[in-house]
């Protein structure tokens, strides 16, 4: 009997999985340490371990049965292939519909303050993803410290705005410039490094920036952060119920009933415009010589050198432009929160942004949008289970990579082909 032999191996595998999961969960979950009075005590939690081990055995058994069938069920793979096929055919329409939807979104009936807040967060990540996409997706440089530029943007905005009291529209370009300058500063020495060496150096740089922010009390106010960052105004019209002397507020100018939603909606459009500018810029620059050089460099550095492309300068432009957009996003973050502290710029933020770019399918602009909605969405779905949201987040990263290693929208088309000449 062939089938029963196969069933036997599945059962054997499942029991082995059970043994391993017992070893995994036994000590960490089963023996919880907690402090009572002085010192630590161990409290056993047997039932949870039994449940987890049983779940592992059953799960492994079902996976084994699934692999016996002629056609395996690969749900995530199927869904993402469908999406990416559809996007290939109707990409342009989907993009336009998406933008139109984003424009009317704040006025839809189900849009309340919470939904809008989450959307603003997702759009911030989309913008960061698009900014990093220039560095990682187009130029092929793995940057694990992108949050450093986000932080530089946020802090320079905060410092300029609180010290000089300049308006948002003056501070925003300055914050971008500062971040871009930092990009050049870091990029200059390190961009001749290759692959993973570059990754660890950028990670180190991200940590250096964070540590300096924590410790440089005189300027950054240390771990307490900077408070009282001015909110953005609508071309000089403040979003305040009772505007200060000499100021006109938004609702009186337009004869509206005062509502806190005005500012939220304004912030929403602000980040939408910023993100779309990033996207437009990327799409355009891909068609310019420097954009082509990035993509060529990503594919083959030696060939580029032979053709007279200067790799360091080309990478430096990518790095600086990516950093500038990171800085813009940082400035937006600062003005939205009205508060910045080093806590917001930990390595996990860099990891999330890199994950959005890679999960979206490197170099794909629409992929970034889908990945950002999916990843940030999943943490919001698990919002009530505060403790488990990051587990779900990390698990989603692993699962997408396993089933779709090239990202959600994997089909990367060359920007230019010789279609007229090859017949």
């Amino acid at each position: 009997m062939k089938i029963s032999a196969e069933i036997k191996t599945i059962i054997k595998d499942s029991l082995f999985t059970g043994l391993i999961s017992l070893a995994l969960f036994g000590p960490i979950v089963g023996l919880k340490t907690s402090s009572k009075g002085e010192g630590l005590f161990v409290t056993p939690h047997v039932s949870i371990v039994v449940l987890l081990v049983a779940a592992c055995i059953v799960g492994r058994f079902l996976i084994g049965l699934n692999s016996l069938r002629k056609k395996e069920i690969n749900l995530i793979g199927n869904i993402t292939s469908t999406i990416s096929n559809y996007m290939d055919n109707k990409g342009k329409h989907v993009a336009i519909t998406g933008v139109l939807f984003a424009i009317v979104f704040p006025f839809l009936p189900f849009t309340d303050r919470y939904v809008l807040d989450v959307s603003i967060m997702i759009l911030t990540y989309i913008m960061l993803g698009w900014g990093l996409n220039i560095v990682v997706g187009l130029a092929g440089l793995l940057d694990l410290g992108y949050v450093a530029f986000y932080a530089v943007g946020a802090y320079s905005y905060a410092l300029i705005a609180t010290t000089f009291g300049w308006s948002f529209w003056v501070c925003l370009p300055l914050a971008g410039l500062f971040a871009g300058f930092f990009g050049i500063l870091l990029g200059f020495p390190v961009l001749r490094l290759r692959g993973d060496y570059l990754a660890i150096v950028t990670l180190g740089f991200g940590e250096i920036v964070r540590i300096i922010l924590i410790n440089w009390y005189e300027v950054t106010n240390g771990p307490d952060g900077i408070t009282g960052i001015p909110r953005p105004s609508f071309f000089g019209l403040e979003f305040k119920k009772f505007p200060d002397e000499g100021e006109t507020s938004f609702h009186t100018f337009f004869n509206l009933e005062y509502s806190t939603m005005h500012r939220i909606i304004f912030l929403y459009y602000l980040i939408l415009v910023l993100a779309l500018i990033t996207n437009y810029f990327t799409l355009k620059i891909r068609k310019l010589p420097v954009g082509r050089a990035w993509e060529a460099l990503r594919e083959d550095e030696i060939a580029c050198k032979s053709l007279g492309v200067n790799p360091t300068n080309t990478k430096l432009t990518a790095f600086a432009i990516g950093a500038t957009f990171g800085g813009f996003a940082g400035a937006f973050f600062a003005t939205r929160q009205a508060f910045v502290s080093p806590e917001s710029f930990t390595f996990i933020e860099s990891a999330i942004i890199v994950a959005i770019v890679v999960l979206g399918g490197m170099g794909s602009q629409t992929g970034v949008v889908l990945a950002a909605i999916f990843l940030i969405g999943i943490t919001e779905v698990f919002r009530d289970l505060e403790q488990y949201r990051m587990i779900a987040f990390g698990g989603a990263m692993v699962l997408i990579m396993i089933f779709k290693p090239k990202g959600i929208l994997a089909n990367r088309k060359p920007t230019i082909t010789l279609k007229d000449y090859i017949k």
Binding site: K32, T33, V42, D196, V201, F205, E207, A351, I402
Partner: protein
């Protein structure tokens, strides 16, 4: 002078811990060419298992050397299970796919492990009262008494023993030969009848066991751990591996010692707040002049 010797001793102790973690990074990088971001969290899990084992044995009243030995074995065994499972679940399906996929998977795994321990064990710091106390004192006549604690002797001694065993394993045994062969050319190695998957699994098991020893040392040395220790220790150990030349075992140990010394010297003489900045700055400066670390093989670019 006395102060310098004290910092030297502390630096070597810290460097031993970093070196042991760095070996896991460098081996995995050598064999499958990926940054195993979850390795720092494997170290953290090793520390937690060691802590739990210490607490359990603390109730039984067995003599200290036996407890140390048993805890060492237990944390190595259980942590190795974690290393093995992480490889099987998150990295093995991605073998042969493009370069960034395993890296993202590893980042995800690292987030999962960190938060899993936070959920299971709680977010608060876990203290452990010192088990090995006392030490040797030098320069008793001078102003500054240099102390070499028994714990530091234990850590450095254990590191030397493990490192020698490990070097023997890699250079003399069949397993080590298979591992070095996989590092050079995986396809050819499998053609020659070596089970590559098994060799990679064993690499992960060995790396995690060494990380768990480092975890146990960390618990004993600092006496307090939480679920977040894996990140910084992991990043610094990876920095050590890169500094020494990634893929090179003696390089990992050298890098570990250097990072440990830089950190203690910097915090001893310049400023304690910026000790992490020092480690990363040294890395950046080193890589500008030695693009593949101190003992790394130069990268040959081929068309």
């Amino acid at each position: 002078m006395e102060y310098f010797i004290q910092q030297l001793i502390n630096g070597i102790t810290l460097g031993s811990i970093y070196g042991l973690i760095a070996i896991g990074y460098t081996m995995v990088y050598g064999i499958i060419g990926m940054i195993n971001f979850a390795h720092g969290d494997i170290f953290m899990i090793g520390a937690f298992i060691a802590l739990i084992a210490f607490l359990l044995f603390g109730l039984t009243g067995i003599a200290l050397p036996i407890v140390l030995f048993l805890v060492l074995l237990i944390s190595m065994l259980f942590t190795a299970c974690y290393g093995w499972s992480v490889e099987k679940l998150a990295y093995k399906p991605l073998r042969g796919s493009f370069r960034l996929a395993p890296l993202i998977s590893a980042l995800g795994m690292s987030i999962v492990l960190q938060n899993y321990v936070q959920v299971a064990q709680g977010a608060r710091v876990k203290p452990l009262q010192p088990l090995i106390s006392g030490g040797l004192e030098f320069f008793k006549e001078s102003d500054f008494v240099v102390t070499l604690s028994y714990l530091q002797i234990f850590i450095v001694f254990l590191t030397i023993v493990l490192m020698s065993m490990f070097t023997l394993l890699i250079t003399k045994t069949d397993l080590g030969r298979a591992q070095r062969a996989c590092e050079q050319d995986r396809t050819m190695t499998s053609l020659l009848g070596i089970n590559v998957d098994r060799t990679i699994s064993i690499t992960f098991i060995l790396g995690s066991s060494l990380a768990s020893v480092a975890g146990m040392m960390f618990v004993l040395y600092y006496g307090v751990i939480d679920f977040y220790i894996g990140f910084l220790a992991g990043v610094k150990a990876f920095t050590a591996a890169v500094l020494g030349g990634i893929g090179s075992l003696p390089g990992a140990m050298l890098g570990g010692l250097l990072i440990g010394l830089i950190e203690t010297m910097w915090s001893g003489y310049i400023s304690i707040e910026y000790k992490d900045v020092a480690a990363f700055s040294v890395l950046i400066i080193t890589l500008i002049f030695f693009p593949t670390g101190f003992l790394g093989k130069p990268d040959i670019e081929k068309v």
